[in-house]
Protein backbone atom coordinates (compact mmCIF):
# COMPACT_ATOMS: atom_id res chain seq x y z
CA UNK A 1 0.00 0.00 0.00
CA UNK A 2 2.85 2.28 0.85
CA UNK A 3 4.30 1.77 -2.63
CA UNK A 4 1.14 2.88 -4.46
CA UNK A 5 0.76 5.85 -2.16
CA UNK A 6 4.41 6.90 -2.51
CA UNK A 7 4.25 6.61 -6.28
CA UNK A 8 1.01 8.58 -6.39
CA UNK A 9 2.28 11.58 -4.44
CA UNK A 10 5.72 11.34 -6.08
CA UNK A 11 4.14 11.42 -9.53
CA UNK A 12 1.95 14.37 -8.47
CA UNK A 13 5.08 16.29 -7.58
CA UNK A 14 6.99 15.27 -10.71
CA UNK A 15 4.23 16.15 -13.15
CA UNK A 16 3.53 19.42 -11.32
CA UNK A 17 7.23 20.30 -11.61
CA UNK A 18 7.23 19.51 -15.32
CA UNK A 19 4.24 21.78 -15.93
CA UNK A 20 5.62 24.62 -13.79
CA UNK A 21 8.95 24.36 -15.59
CA UNK A 22 7.14 25.18 -18.83
CA UNK A 23 6.62 28.71 -17.48
CA UNK A 24 10.34 29.46 -17.43
CA UNK A 25 11.01 32.73 -19.31
CA UNK A 26 7.25 33.17 -19.89
CA UNK A 27 5.97 34.54 -16.56
CA UNK A 28 4.03 37.83 -16.33
CA UNK A 29 6.88 39.48 -14.43
CA UNK A 30 10.49 38.63 -13.65
CA UNK A 31 9.88 38.08 -9.95
CA UNK A 32 7.20 35.56 -10.86
CA UNK A 33 9.56 33.72 -13.17
CA UNK A 34 11.81 33.21 -10.16
CA UNK A 35 8.92 32.20 -7.89
CA UNK A 36 7.54 29.62 -10.33
CA UNK A 37 10.99 28.12 -10.84
CA UNK A 38 11.35 27.94 -7.06
CA UNK A 39 8.10 26.05 -6.70
CA UNK A 40 9.00 23.77 -9.60
CA UNK A 41 12.31 23.01 -7.89
CA UNK A 42 10.55 22.20 -4.61
CA UNK A 43 8.16 19.85 -6.39
CA UNK A 44 11.00 18.23 -8.29
CA UNK A 45 13.00 17.80 -5.10
CA UNK A 46 10.09 16.09 -3.34
CA UNK A 47 9.46 13.94 -6.43
CA UNK A 48 13.05 12.73 -6.44
CA UNK A 49 12.94 11.70 -2.79
CA UNK A 50 9.58 9.98 -3.21
CA UNK A 51 10.43 8.16 -6.43
CA UNK A 52 13.74 7.00 -5.01
CA UNK A 53 11.87 5.59 -2.02
CA UNK A 54 9.19 4.05 -4.24
CA UNK A 55 11.93 2.27 -6.17
CA UNK A 56 13.30 0.86 -2.92
CA UNK A 57 9.86 -0.27 -1.77
CA UNK A 58 9.31 -1.98 -5.10
CA UNK A 59 12.60 -3.83 -4.71
CA UNK A 60 13.21 -4.29 -8.44
CA UNK A 61 16.30 -2.09 -8.57
CA UNK A 62 14.64 0.89 -10.23
CA UNK A 63 15.91 4.38 -9.30
CA UNK A 64 14.26 7.79 -9.63
CA UNK A 65 15.21 8.12 -13.30
CA UNK A 66 14.00 4.63 -14.22
CA UNK A 67 10.64 5.49 -12.71
CA UNK A 68 10.44 8.97 -14.21
CA UNK A 69 11.72 8.19 -17.68
CA UNK A 70 10.90 4.58 -18.42
CA UNK A 71 7.27 4.23 -17.37
CA UNK A 72 4.43 4.85 -19.79
CA UNK A 73 1.42 7.01 -19.02
CA UNK A 74 -0.68 4.02 -17.93
CA UNK A 75 1.87 3.36 -15.20
CA UNK A 76 1.84 6.89 -13.81
CA UNK A 77 -0.26 7.36 -10.66
CA UNK A 78 -0.54 11.15 -10.49
CA UNK A 79 -3.87 12.91 -10.15
CA UNK A 80 -5.36 14.46 -13.29
CA UNK A 81 -5.16 17.97 -11.81
CA UNK A 82 -1.40 18.26 -12.23
CA UNK A 83 -1.28 17.01 -15.82
CA UNK A 84 -3.81 19.52 -17.15
CA UNK A 85 -2.19 22.06 -19.49
CA UNK A 86 -1.00 25.31 -17.91
CA UNK A 87 -3.57 27.48 -19.68
CA UNK A 88 -3.20 31.17 -18.85
CA UNK A 89 -1.66 32.41 -15.63
CA UNK A 90 -5.06 32.21 -13.91
CA UNK A 91 -5.45 28.52 -14.72
CA UNK A 92 -1.92 27.84 -13.53
CA UNK A 93 -2.63 29.63 -10.25
CA UNK A 94 -5.93 27.77 -9.79
CA UNK A 95 -4.12 24.46 -10.30
CA UNK A 96 -1.31 25.43 -7.96
CA UNK A 97 -3.66 26.76 -5.31
CA UNK A 98 -5.75 23.59 -5.19
CA UNK A 99 -2.66 21.39 -5.32
CA UNK A 100 -0.96 23.28 -2.49
CA UNK A 101 -4.15 23.31 -0.41
CA UNK A 102 -4.03 19.51 -0.68
CA UNK A 103 -0.28 18.96 -0.39
CA UNK A 104 0.11 21.24 2.60
CA UNK A 105 -2.09 19.21 5.03
CA UNK A 106 -0.91 16.01 3.34
CA UNK A 107 2.77 16.65 4.05
CA UNK A 108 1.95 17.87 7.54
CA UNK A 109 0.11 14.62 8.28
CA UNK A 110 2.89 12.65 6.63
CA UNK A 111 5.47 14.26 8.90
CA UNK A 112 3.79 12.45 11.82
CA UNK A 113 3.23 9.09 10.13
CA UNK A 114 4.83 5.80 11.17
CA UNK A 115 6.96 5.41 8.02
CA UNK A 116 10.20 7.22 8.83
CA UNK A 117 11.17 7.91 5.23
CA UNK A 118 7.80 9.39 4.36
CA UNK A 119 7.81 11.33 7.62
CA UNK A 120 11.16 12.88 6.67
CA UNK A 121 9.83 13.92 3.24
CA UNK A 122 6.72 15.35 4.92
CA UNK A 123 8.76 17.33 7.42
CA UNK A 124 10.81 18.93 4.65
CA UNK A 125 8.08 19.41 2.07
CA UNK A 126 5.42 20.86 4.37
CA UNK A 127 7.41 24.08 4.82
CA UNK A 128 7.81 24.44 1.07
CA UNK A 129 4.17 23.60 0.54
CA UNK A 130 3.08 26.29 3.00
CA UNK A 131 4.94 28.81 0.82
CA UNK A 132 3.34 27.46 -2.37
CA UNK A 133 -0.05 27.85 -0.75
CA UNK A 134 0.64 31.43 0.36
CA UNK A 135 1.95 32.36 -3.04
CA UNK A 136 -0.91 30.84 -5.01
CA UNK A 137 -3.55 32.16 -2.60
CA UNK A 138 -2.16 35.68 -2.97
CA UNK A 139 -2.44 35.47 -6.74
CA UNK A 140 -5.95 34.01 -6.58
CA UNK A 141 -6.95 37.02 -4.46
CA UNK A 142 -5.13 39.52 -6.66
CA UNK A 143 -6.65 38.15 -9.83
CA UNK A 144 -10.10 37.53 -8.34
CA UNK A 145 -10.30 40.98 -6.80
CA UNK A 146 -8.16 42.83 -9.36
CA UNK A 147 -9.63 44.12 -12.61
CA UNK A 148 -12.83 43.10 -14.37
CA UNK A 149 -10.83 41.07 -16.84
CA UNK A 150 -8.76 39.31 -14.22
CA UNK A 151 -11.87 38.50 -12.18
CA UNK A 152 -13.51 36.93 -15.22
CA UNK A 153 -10.39 34.95 -16.10
CA UNK A 154 -9.82 33.77 -12.53
CA UNK A 155 -13.44 32.65 -12.15
CA UNK A 156 -13.19 30.78 -15.46
CA UNK A 157 -10.03 29.12 -14.21
CA UNK A 158 -11.63 28.02 -10.94
CA UNK A 159 -14.64 26.67 -12.86
CA UNK A 160 -12.40 24.75 -15.23
CA UNK A 161 -10.12 23.20 -12.62
CA UNK A 162 -12.46 22.64 -9.67
CA UNK A 163 -13.95 19.30 -10.81
CA UNK A 164 -10.46 17.74 -10.71
CA UNK A 165 -9.97 18.31 -6.98
CA UNK A 166 -12.36 15.55 -5.87
CA UNK A 167 -10.02 12.82 -7.05
CA UNK A 168 -7.43 14.00 -4.54
CA UNK A 169 -9.56 12.92 -1.59
CA UNK A 170 -10.71 9.45 -2.62
CA UNK A 171 -10.69 7.34 0.58
CA UNK A 172 -7.78 4.96 1.04
CA UNK A 173 -7.86 3.73 4.64
CA UNK A 174 -4.78 1.55 4.19
CA UNK A 175 -2.52 4.41 3.02
CA UNK A 176 -0.01 6.01 5.42
CA UNK A 177 -2.28 9.07 5.31
CA UNK A 178 -5.87 8.50 4.19
CA UNK A 179 -6.50 11.33 1.69
CA UNK A 180 -10.17 11.58 2.69
CA UNK A 181 -9.09 12.89 6.11
CA UNK A 182 -7.56 15.97 4.43
CA UNK A 183 -10.75 17.19 2.84
CA UNK A 184 -12.05 19.35 5.70
CA UNK A 185 -8.79 21.24 5.95
CA UNK A 186 -8.74 21.73 2.17
CA UNK A 187 -12.31 22.99 2.05
CA UNK A 188 -11.70 25.49 4.83
CA UNK A 189 -8.61 26.92 3.10
CA UNK A 190 -10.31 27.11 -0.28
CA UNK A 191 -13.49 28.74 1.03
CA UNK A 192 -11.62 31.44 2.91
CA UNK A 193 -9.44 32.37 -0.06
CA UNK A 194 -12.17 32.23 -2.69
CA UNK A 195 -14.43 34.40 -0.52
CA UNK A 196 -11.76 37.01 -0.11
CA UNK A 197 -11.06 36.81 -3.85
CA UNK A 198 -14.78 37.43 -4.58
CA UNK A 199 -14.88 34.10 -6.43
CA UNK A 200 -17.39 31.26 -6.22
CA UNK A 201 -17.10 27.50 -6.37
CA UNK A 202 -18.91 26.05 -9.35
CA UNK A 203 -22.00 23.94 -8.74
CA UNK A 204 -21.23 20.77 -10.63
CA UNK A 205 -21.38 17.13 -9.76
CA UNK A 206 -18.79 16.19 -12.38
CA UNK A 207 -15.81 14.61 -10.65
CA UNK A 208 -13.33 13.15 -13.14
CA UNK A 209 -10.78 10.69 -11.77
CA UNK A 210 -8.75 7.64 -12.64
CA UNK A 211 -5.24 9.02 -12.30
CA UNK A 212 -4.46 6.90 -9.27
CA UNK A 213 -5.29 3.81 -11.35
CA UNK A 214 -3.27 4.94 -14.37
CA UNK A 215 -6.23 6.19 -16.38
CA UNK A 216 -5.26 9.71 -17.42
CA UNK A 217 -6.37 12.55 -19.64
CA UNK A 218 -5.05 12.74 -23.18
CA UNK A 219 -2.53 15.32 -22.01
CA UNK A 220 -0.23 13.12 -19.95
CA UNK A 221 1.11 11.06 -22.83
CA UNK A 222 2.33 14.24 -24.58
CA UNK A 223 3.89 15.55 -21.41
CA UNK A 224 5.78 12.30 -20.92
CA UNK A 225 6.78 12.09 -24.58
CA UNK A 226 8.56 15.41 -24.23
CA UNK A 227 10.01 14.70 -20.81
CA UNK A 228 11.34 11.25 -21.74
CA UNK A 229 12.44 11.72 -25.35
CA UNK A 230 16.16 12.26 -24.80
CA UNK A 231 16.57 9.75 -22.00
CA UNK A 232 14.85 7.05 -24.05
CA UNK A 233 16.87 7.84 -27.19
CA UNK A 234 20.06 6.69 -25.42
CA UNK A 235 19.23 3.45 -23.59
CA UNK A 236 21.58 2.74 -20.72
CA UNK A 237 23.52 6.01 -21.03
CA UNK A 238 24.58 8.04 -17.98
CA UNK A 239 24.01 11.77 -17.85
Amino acid sequence: MSLDFTLAIGDDALVAAQRLGEWTSRAPEMEEDIALANIALDQLGAARLLLTYAGELEGAGRDEDDLAYLRGDREFRNCLLVELPNGDFGVTMAKLFFLAAYQSPLYTALAGCADERLAAVGAKARKESAYHLDHAALWVKRLGDGTEESHRRMQDAVDEVWPYVHELFAPDPAAPVDPSTLRADFDATVSAVLDEATLTRPETGWAPGGGRDGLHTEHLSYLLAEMQVLHRAHPGASW
Binding site: L14, T24, M30, D33, L44, R48, D145, S150, W239
Partner: protein
Protein backbone atom coordinates in the same frame (compact mmCIF):
# COMPACT_ATOMS: atom_id res chain seq x y z
CA UNK B 1 17.29 22.10 -3.90
CA UNK B 2 18.05 18.50 -3.12
CA UNK B 3 21.50 17.01 -3.55
CA UNK B 4 22.68 18.53 -6.80
CA UNK B 5 26.17 19.34 -5.75
CA UNK B 6 28.98 17.76 -7.63
CA UNK B 7 32.33 17.22 -6.05
CA UNK B 8 34.53 19.63 -7.98
CA UNK B 9 36.71 17.64 -10.36
CA UNK B 10 40.46 18.18 -9.90
CA UNK B 11 40.71 19.97 -13.18
CA UNK B 12 37.44 21.88 -12.98
CA UNK B 13 37.53 25.34 -14.48
CA UNK B 14 36.76 28.52 -12.66
CA UNK B 15 39.17 28.25 -9.74
CA UNK B 16 41.59 30.97 -10.84
CA UNK B 17 38.86 33.33 -11.95
CA UNK B 18 36.93 32.82 -8.75
CA UNK B 19 40.10 33.82 -6.91
CA UNK B 20 40.15 37.06 -8.90
CA UNK B 21 36.54 37.73 -7.96
CA UNK B 22 37.41 37.27 -4.31
CA UNK B 23 40.40 39.58 -4.67
CA UNK B 24 38.15 42.20 -6.25
CA UNK B 25 35.73 41.84 -3.37
CA UNK B 26 38.55 42.35 -0.87
CA UNK B 27 39.74 45.41 -2.79
CA UNK B 28 36.20 46.77 -2.72
CA UNK B 29 36.11 46.45 1.06
CA UNK B 30 39.52 48.06 1.38
CA UNK B 31 38.46 50.95 -0.81
CA UNK B 32 35.37 51.41 1.33
CA UNK B 33 37.48 51.30 4.48
CA UNK B 34 39.88 53.93 3.12
CA UNK B 35 36.90 56.24 3.14
CA UNK B 36 36.64 58.69 0.29
CA UNK B 37 36.81 62.36 0.82
CA UNK B 38 33.29 63.39 1.78
CA UNK B 39 32.79 65.27 -1.47
CA UNK B 40 34.35 68.02 -3.52
CA UNK B 41 35.98 70.86 -1.57
CA UNK B 42 33.97 74.14 -1.75
CA UNK B 43 36.21 75.66 -4.40
CA UNK B 44 36.84 72.38 -6.27
CA UNK B 45 34.84 71.68 -9.36
CA UNK B 46 32.81 68.47 -9.38
CA UNK B 47 34.54 67.11 -12.43
CA UNK B 48 37.95 67.32 -10.76
CA UNK B 49 36.52 65.51 -7.78
CA UNK B 50 35.08 62.79 -10.02
CA UNK B 51 38.45 62.31 -11.72
CA UNK B 52 40.13 62.21 -8.34
CA UNK B 53 37.87 59.43 -7.10
CA UNK B 54 38.48 57.40 -10.26
CA UNK B 55 42.24 57.90 -10.08
CA UNK B 56 42.29 56.84 -6.43
CA UNK B 57 40.50 53.58 -7.38
CA UNK B 58 37.58 54.57 -5.23
CA UNK B 59 33.98 53.95 -6.24
CA UNK B 60 31.55 56.41 -7.75
CA UNK B 61 28.22 56.08 -5.97
CA UNK B 62 24.70 56.93 -7.22
CA UNK B 63 24.51 60.35 -5.51
CA UNK B 64 27.88 61.53 -6.85
CA UNK B 65 28.14 63.91 -9.75
CA UNK B 66 29.22 62.13 -12.90
CA UNK B 67 29.71 63.14 -16.51
CA UNK B 68 26.58 62.57 -18.58
CA UNK B 69 28.51 60.32 -20.97
CA UNK B 70 29.73 58.17 -18.05
CA UNK B 71 26.14 57.77 -16.90
CA UNK B 72 24.92 56.94 -20.41
CA UNK B 73 27.73 54.45 -21.01
CA UNK B 74 26.97 52.65 -17.77
CA UNK B 75 23.22 52.56 -18.39
CA UNK B 76 23.82 51.13 -21.85
CA UNK B 77 26.29 48.54 -20.61
CA UNK B 78 24.42 47.45 -17.46
CA UNK B 79 21.09 47.33 -19.30
CA UNK B 80 22.59 45.29 -22.10
CA UNK B 81 23.93 42.91 -19.52
CA UNK B 82 20.56 42.68 -17.74
CA UNK B 83 18.75 42.10 -21.05
CA UNK B 84 21.26 39.35 -21.88
CA UNK B 85 20.43 37.53 -18.67
CA UNK B 86 16.72 37.69 -19.41
CA UNK B 87 16.98 36.68 -23.07
CA UNK B 88 19.62 34.11 -22.12
CA UNK B 89 16.97 32.20 -20.19
CA UNK B 90 15.45 31.08 -23.48
CA UNK B 91 18.13 28.93 -25.14
CA UNK B 92 18.77 26.96 -21.98
CA UNK B 93 15.16 27.00 -20.84
CA UNK B 94 14.56 25.17 -24.10
CA UNK B 95 15.97 21.99 -22.50
CA UNK B 96 14.34 22.07 -19.05
CA UNK B 97 11.42 19.91 -20.14
CA UNK B 98 13.70 17.34 -21.80
CA UNK B 99 16.65 17.22 -19.41
CA UNK B 100 17.83 13.60 -19.44
CA UNK B 101 17.82 12.97 -15.68
CA UNK B 102 15.92 14.48 -12.78
CA UNK B 103 19.15 15.72 -11.26
CA UNK B 104 20.12 17.54 -14.47
CA UNK B 105 16.62 18.95 -14.70
CA UNK B 106 16.91 20.39 -11.19
CA UNK B 107 20.34 21.89 -11.89
CA UNK B 108 19.18 23.45 -15.13
CA UNK B 109 16.01 24.88 -13.59
CA UNK B 110 18.09 26.42 -10.82
CA UNK B 111 20.54 27.84 -13.32
CA UNK B 112 17.90 29.50 -15.46
CA UNK B 113 16.34 30.82 -12.28
CA UNK B 114 19.71 32.33 -11.31
CA UNK B 115 19.75 34.13 -14.65
CA UNK B 116 16.41 35.75 -13.90
CA UNK B 117 17.89 36.78 -10.54
CA UNK B 118 20.96 38.28 -12.23
CA UNK B 119 18.69 40.17 -14.57
CA UNK B 120 16.78 41.58 -11.62
CA UNK B 121 19.74 42.88 -9.72
CA UNK B 122 21.41 44.25 -12.80
CA UNK B 123 18.23 46.18 -13.59
CA UNK B 124 18.33 47.40 -9.99
CA UNK B 125 21.95 48.53 -10.48
CA UNK B 126 20.93 50.40 -13.65
CA UNK B 127 18.05 52.03 -11.78
CA UNK B 128 20.56 53.74 -9.46
CA UNK B 129 21.59 55.76 -12.54
CA UNK B 130 18.15 57.35 -12.83
CA UNK B 131 16.26 55.14 -15.26
CA UNK B 132 13.45 52.74 -14.39
CA UNK B 133 13.28 49.02 -15.08
CA UNK B 134 10.08 49.54 -17.05
CA UNK B 135 11.83 52.01 -19.33
CA UNK B 136 14.71 49.61 -19.85
CA UNK B 137 12.36 46.72 -20.62
CA UNK B 138 10.63 48.91 -23.19
CA UNK B 139 13.99 49.75 -24.76
CA UNK B 140 14.68 46.03 -25.10
CA UNK B 141 11.25 45.21 -26.49
CA UNK B 142 11.46 48.08 -29.01
CA UNK B 143 14.85 46.84 -30.14
CA UNK B 144 16.54 50.11 -29.13
CA UNK B 145 18.84 48.31 -26.71
CA UNK B 146 20.71 45.10 -27.43
CA UNK B 147 21.48 41.89 -25.63
CA UNK B 148 24.45 39.60 -26.13
CA UNK B 149 24.43 38.15 -29.64
CA UNK B 150 25.39 34.72 -28.40
CA UNK B 151 21.80 34.06 -27.39
CA UNK B 152 20.71 34.29 -31.00
CA UNK B 153 22.16 30.85 -31.64
CA UNK B 154 19.93 27.79 -31.17
CA UNK B 155 20.34 25.00 -28.60
CA UNK B 156 19.89 21.96 -30.81
CA UNK B 157 20.96 19.17 -28.48
CA UNK B 158 21.39 18.53 -24.78
CA UNK B 159 25.15 18.96 -25.23
CA UNK B 160 24.50 22.59 -26.13
CA UNK B 161 23.47 23.13 -22.51
CA UNK B 162 26.90 21.88 -21.52
CA UNK B 163 28.66 23.96 -24.17
CA UNK B 164 26.82 27.09 -23.09
CA UNK B 165 27.90 26.48 -19.52
CA UNK B 166 31.50 25.80 -20.35
CA UNK B 167 32.14 28.21 -23.21
CA UNK B 168 29.50 30.93 -23.04
CA UNK B 169 29.47 31.24 -19.25
CA UNK B 170 33.25 30.86 -19.33
CA UNK B 171 33.60 33.75 -21.77
CA UNK B 172 31.10 35.77 -19.76
CA UNK B 173 33.15 35.28 -16.61
CA UNK B 174 36.39 36.29 -18.33
CA UNK B 175 34.58 39.41 -19.49
CA UNK B 176 32.96 40.11 -16.17
CA UNK B 177 35.70 39.41 -13.65
CA UNK B 178 37.42 42.74 -14.44
CA UNK B 179 34.03 44.45 -14.03
CA UNK B 180 34.12 43.48 -10.36
CA UNK B 181 36.65 46.36 -10.17
CA UNK B 182 34.53 48.75 -12.20
CA UNK B 183 34.59 52.35 -10.94
CA UNK B 184 30.81 52.46 -10.49
CA UNK B 185 30.07 50.93 -7.07
CA UNK B 186 26.63 49.36 -7.61
CA UNK B 187 27.79 47.68 -10.83
CA UNK B 188 31.00 46.38 -9.27
CA UNK B 189 29.08 44.92 -6.34
CA UNK B 190 26.46 43.31 -8.61
CA UNK B 191 29.22 41.79 -10.73
CA UNK B 192 30.89 40.17 -7.73
CA UNK B 193 27.69 38.35 -6.94
CA UNK B 194 27.00 37.46 -10.58
CA UNK B 195 30.53 36.14 -11.15
CA UNK B 196 30.40 33.87 -8.15
CA UNK B 197 27.21 32.24 -9.39
CA UNK B 198 28.42 32.13 -12.99
CA UNK B 199 31.47 30.17 -11.97
CA UNK B 200 29.18 27.45 -10.61
CA UNK B 201 27.28 27.47 -13.87
CA UNK B 202 30.47 27.12 -15.82
CA UNK B 203 31.53 24.18 -13.70
CA UNK B 204 28.15 22.52 -14.20
CA UNK B 205 28.37 22.97 -17.97
CA UNK B 206 31.85 21.54 -17.98
CA UNK B 207 30.57 18.61 -15.94
CA UNK B 208 27.80 17.93 -18.48
CA UNK B 209 30.32 17.87 -21.32
CA UNK B 210 32.73 15.74 -19.31
CA UNK B 211 30.03 13.15 -18.68
CA UNK B 212 29.00 13.14 -22.35
CA UNK B 213 32.58 12.99 -23.63
CA UNK B 214 33.19 9.95 -21.43
CA UNK B 215 29.85 8.33 -22.25
CA UNK B 216 28.59 6.41 -25.28
CA UNK B 217 29.94 7.17 -28.78
CA UNK B 218 26.67 8.97 -29.57
CA UNK B 219 27.02 11.11 -26.46
CA UNK B 220 30.61 11.98 -27.28
CA UNK B 221 29.65 12.93 -30.83
CA UNK B 222 26.90 15.13 -29.43
CA UNK B 223 29.41 16.89 -27.18
CA UNK B 224 31.91 17.45 -30.00
CA UNK B 225 29.19 18.78 -32.30
CA UNK B 226 28.13 21.29 -29.65
CA UNK B 227 31.69 22.51 -29.09
CA UNK B 228 32.15 22.80 -32.86
CA UNK B 229 29.11 25.07 -33.10
CA UNK B 230 29.67 27.18 -29.97
CA UNK B 231 33.43 27.81 -30.13
CA UNK B 232 33.57 30.70 -32.60
CA UNK B 233 30.39 32.43 -31.42
CA UNK B 234 31.90 32.30 -27.91
CA UNK B 235 35.11 33.95 -29.17
CA UNK B 236 32.96 36.61 -30.79
CA UNK B 237 31.39 37.42 -27.41
CA UNK B 238 34.42 39.58 -26.61
CA UNK B 239 33.37 41.96 -29.33
CA UNK B 240 35.14 43.30 -32.40
CA UNK B 241 38.94 43.39 -32.53
CA UNK B 242 40.52 46.28 -30.63
CA UNK B 243 41.12 48.35 -33.77
CA UNK B 244 37.37 48.42 -34.53
CA UNK B 245 35.98 48.80 -31.04
CA UNK B 246 34.22 52.13 -30.64
CA UNK B 247 33.63 52.38 -26.91
CA UNK B 248 36.89 51.06 -25.55
CA UNK B 249 39.27 53.97 -24.97
CA UNK B 250 36.94 56.18 -22.95
CA UNK B 251 35.63 53.24 -20.93
CA UNK B 252 39.21 52.30 -20.05
CA UNK B 253 39.93 55.84 -18.88
CA UNK B 254 36.84 55.77 -16.68
CA UNK B 255 37.84 52.37 -15.31
CA UNK B 256 34.56 50.87 -16.45
CA UNK B 257 36.59 48.59 -18.66
CA UNK B 258 40.02 47.29 -17.62
CA UNK B 259 41.22 45.16 -20.51
CA UNK B 260 40.79 45.33 -24.25
CA UNK B 261 38.55 42.92 -26.19
CA UNK B 262 41.54 41.13 -27.68
CA UNK B 263 43.30 40.77 -24.34
CA UNK B 264 40.23 39.13 -22.84
CA UNK B 265 39.70 36.91 -25.87
CA UNK B 266 43.29 35.69 -25.61
CA UNK B 267 42.87 34.98 -21.92
CA UNK B 268 39.75 32.91 -22.73
CA UNK B 269 41.48 30.89 -25.45
CA UNK B 270 44.44 30.16 -23.19
CA UNK B 271 42.08 29.01 -20.46
CA UNK B 272 40.04 26.71 -22.73
CA UNK B 273 42.82 24.78 -24.46
CA UNK B 274 43.83 22.76 -21.41
CA UNK B 275 40.26 22.21 -20.35
CA UNK B 276 39.34 20.87 -23.81
CA UNK B 277 42.20 18.39 -23.54
CA UNK B 278 40.90 17.10 -20.22
CA UNK B 279 37.42 16.83 -21.70
CA UNK B 280 38.83 14.85 -24.59
CA UNK B 281 37.17 17.21 -27.06
CA UNK B 282 38.74 19.11 -29.93
CA UNK B 283 38.46 22.87 -30.36
CA UNK B 284 37.54 23.34 -34.03
CA UNK B 285 40.61 25.36 -34.99
CA UNK B 286 43.39 23.58 -36.94
CA UNK B 287 45.67 26.60 -36.44
CA UNK B 288 45.45 26.59 -32.67
CA UNK B 289 48.99 26.22 -31.32
CA UNK B 290 51.22 27.41 -28.51
CA UNK B 291 53.39 30.40 -29.31
CA UNK B 292 56.45 30.27 -27.12
CA UNK B 293 57.46 33.82 -27.92
CA UNK B 294 54.12 35.31 -26.94
CA UNK B 295 53.57 32.77 -24.15
CA UNK B 296 50.03 32.39 -25.47
CA UNK B 297 48.10 30.36 -28.02
CA UNK B 298 47.80 31.48 -31.61
CA UNK B 299 44.25 30.97 -32.79
CA UNK B 300 41.87 31.71 -35.65
CA UNK B 301 39.74 34.80 -35.20
CA UNK B 302 35.97 34.38 -35.26
CA UNK B 303 34.06 35.61 -38.29
CA UNK B 304 33.41 39.23 -37.37
CA UNK B 305 31.22 39.76 -40.41
CA UNK B 306 28.94 37.08 -39.00
CA UNK B 307 29.02 38.81 -35.60
CA UNK B 308 27.90 42.05 -37.25
CA UNK B 309 25.08 40.29 -39.10
CA UNK B 310 23.85 38.74 -35.87
CA UNK B 311 24.10 42.04 -33.99
CA UNK B 312 22.08 43.71 -36.75
CA UNK B 313 19.30 41.15 -36.29
CA UNK B 314 19.99 38.44 -38.82
CA UNK B 315 21.23 35.64 -36.57
CA UNK B 316 19.44 32.29 -36.56
CA UNK B 317 17.18 33.13 -33.60
CA UNK B 318 17.00 36.94 -33.23
CA UNK B 319 13.40 37.16 -34.35
CA UNK B 320 12.33 34.19 -32.28
CA UNK B 321 13.99 35.44 -29.09
CA UNK B 322 12.39 38.86 -29.36
CA UNK B 323 8.99 37.45 -30.30
CA UNK B 324 9.13 35.16 -27.27
CA UNK B 325 10.01 38.04 -24.93
CA UNK B 326 7.33 40.32 -26.39
CA UNK B 327 4.70 37.61 -26.14
CA UNK B 328 5.52 36.87 -22.50
CA UNK B 329 5.32 40.58 -21.73
CA UNK B 330 2.04 41.04 -23.61
CA UNK B 331 0.45 37.88 -22.19
CA UNK B 332 1.33 39.03 -18.69
CA UNK B 333 -0.17 42.51 -19.04
CA UNK B 334 -3.58 41.58 -17.57
CA UNK B 335 -1.84 39.94 -14.60
CA UNK B 336 0.32 43.00 -13.86
CA UNK B 337 -2.72 45.24 -14.21
CA UNK B 338 -4.67 43.04 -11.80
CA UNK B 339 -1.85 43.13 -9.24
CA UNK B 340 -1.75 46.92 -9.44
CA UNK B 341 -5.55 47.21 -9.14
CA UNK B 342 -5.61 44.84 -6.18
CA UNK B 343 -2.85 46.77 -4.42
CA UNK B 344 -4.70 50.04 -5.03
CA UNK B 345 -7.93 48.61 -3.57
CA UNK B 346 -6.09 47.36 -0.52
CA UNK B 347 -4.45 50.74 0.02
CA UNK B 348 -7.85 52.42 -0.29
CA UNK B 349 -9.43 50.10 2.24
CA UNK B 350 -6.60 50.68 4.67
CA UNK B 351 -6.73 54.45 4.40
CA UNK B 352 -9.71 55.10 6.73
CA UNK B 353 -7.98 53.04 9.39
CA UNK B 354 -4.78 55.00 9.02
CA UNK B 355 -6.61 58.34 9.12
Amino acid sequence: MYGNDFAPPEDAPGGGLLGEVEAAEAALREAAARARRGGPAPDEDVEAYFTDVINADQKIEPRDWMPEAYRRTLIRQIAQHAHSEIIGMQPEGNWISRAPSLKRKAILLAKVQDEAGHGLYLYAAAETLGISRDELVDLLLDGRQKYSSIFNYPTLTWADVGAIGWLVDGAAIVNQVPLCRCSYGPYARAMIRVCKEESFHQRQGYEILHTLAHGTPAQKAMAQDAVDRWWYPSLAMFGPPDGDSTHSAQSMAWKIKRFSNDELRQRFVDMCVGQAEVLGLTLPDPDLRWNDERQAYDYTQPDYAELMRVIKGDGPCNRERMAHRRKAHADGAWVREAAAAYAAKRAERKEPVAA
